[in-house]
Amino acid sequence: MPIDKRVEFARALDGVGDGATVFITGFGGAGFPNKLIRALRDKGPKNLTLVVNSATHRYSLTHELIANDQVRKVICTAARGHDKEPSAFETRWMAGKIELEMVPQGSFTERIRAGGAGIPAFYTPVGFGTELTKGKEVRRFGDRDYVMEEAIIGDLALVRADIADRTGNLVFNYAQMNFGPVMATAAKLAVAEVRTVSDDLLPRERIQLPGVYVDRVVAV
């Protein structure tokens, strides 16, 4: 059977359950899979661990999952609200109802890449001597100190892209790419929400993420 990863929107998250570790793309205002985030809220699995650049970005609907009390833990690089009132995340975090693991952004993305690339751990100079790496192994190479960071692997990746084809090949619009490639590689199930699905298979020059990494495609 010709490979065909297109699914109905209603089935995009089939099989996702409580306790899942969920990657959500988006950064700098671009690339938020907001339709899939809302579908995840409507589906309602609990005790999720979200791996998302920001827990509080204005343009991302990530906060809806948090406000709906589906989230046990957030691994992110930013968790500060924008309004005078504390955000959904901050309220729950201060009340001890949600766990926070704050990671420098380069280590965040590299840990996810490592997860998709079969690398269990690596060393980085970033964060050495700071409270974000407290308790992490420190090791000297040459004349510099490094900390060991471990891979992040997820159950589900929600990825926003611009164009897909039926084999899951993806094209991103400008800076929409951000975490899409690494998150798709590190998740057991990668679901892409795209503006449009091309009738033809995409030409190789345009493909920014090979379909091998994408399990389901939905046009929204």
């Binding site: 700098g28 671009a30 690089t77 930013a78 500060r80 901050e90 970033v126 700071t130 951000n178």
Partner: protein, 226 residues
């Protein structure tokens, strides 16, 4: 006294950017440095979200919501620009391919330690973004900040009191009062406004040395629209 305003500080920092450099300008005040580059200088501006070759801000009617920088500003691309994913973007930063980063800061210590990510604001979640990567790994880390806090406390210190962003990373600090280098011998003032050395030292939390050729710190008039 003729302290620089915020945009004049960015102007001064921009003057030190040299031809051909790859530069990352931090979110907030530092991004304004791109407005004041010397005309003969051709630099490549990198943004943490993967844009290599950031151009001017987009006009409203031409902006694409997906063409943004790390600060969510809608931008344009310079000719020859490219966009990479996050892992490439931070491999570029961590791998030492950024010649200069200019960052905002809360505190800088005399050994170059930088604190710029967590003010310990009560009831607010933390935000680190790419600050630690840039501070730890750019070839040169320069800082823009007010010389003292709103309450008048010094920001140039013997030791940072706030949580560190990276250790021993800052090479130069631009403030409203001075241009200060971080050297193995501590802070060395390269340029300063006309407030007198004793006054500058009084507003600084660590010993200052003054360069033999210490110059006046000046900038053209720039209006700050607040």
């Amino acid at each position: 006294m003729s302290a620089l305003n915020r945009l004049q500080i960015t102007w001064r920092a921009a003057q030190d950017i040299t031809d051909g450099q790859v530069v990352n300008l931090g979110i907030g005040l530092p991004v304004h440095c791109s407005d004041y580059l010397r005309p003969e200088v051709d630099v490549t501006l990198q943004s943490e979200n993967g844009v290599i070759g950031v151009g001017p801000l987009a006009e409203k009617d031409k902006a694409d919501t997906d063409l943004v920088d790390a600060g969510s500003r809608r931008i344009t691309l310079r000719p020859g620009a490219s966009i990479v994913d996050s892992s490439w973007s931070f491999a570029m930063i961590r791998g030492g391919h950024i010649d200069v980063t200019i960052l905002g800061a809360f505190e800088v210590a005399q050994n170059g330690d930088l604190a710029n990510w967590d003010m310990r604001v009560p009831n607010r979640g933390p935000l680190v973004g790419g600050a630690m990567d840039l501070a730890a790994c750019a070839r040169e880390v320069r800082v823009i900040m007010e010389h003292v806090t709103r309450k008048g406390a010094p920001r140039l210190l013997e030791r940072c009191a706030l949580p560190l962003t990276a250790v021993k990373c800052v090479s130069r600090v631009y403030t409203d009062l001075a241009v200060v280098d971080v050297t193995p011998q501590g802070f060395v003032v390269r340029e300063m406004v006309a407030i007198g050395r004793e006054e500058l030292q009084a507003r600084t939390g660590a010993p200052l040395t003054f360069a033999p050729d210490c110059k006046p710190l000046t900038a053209p008039p720039i209006e700050v629209a607040d």
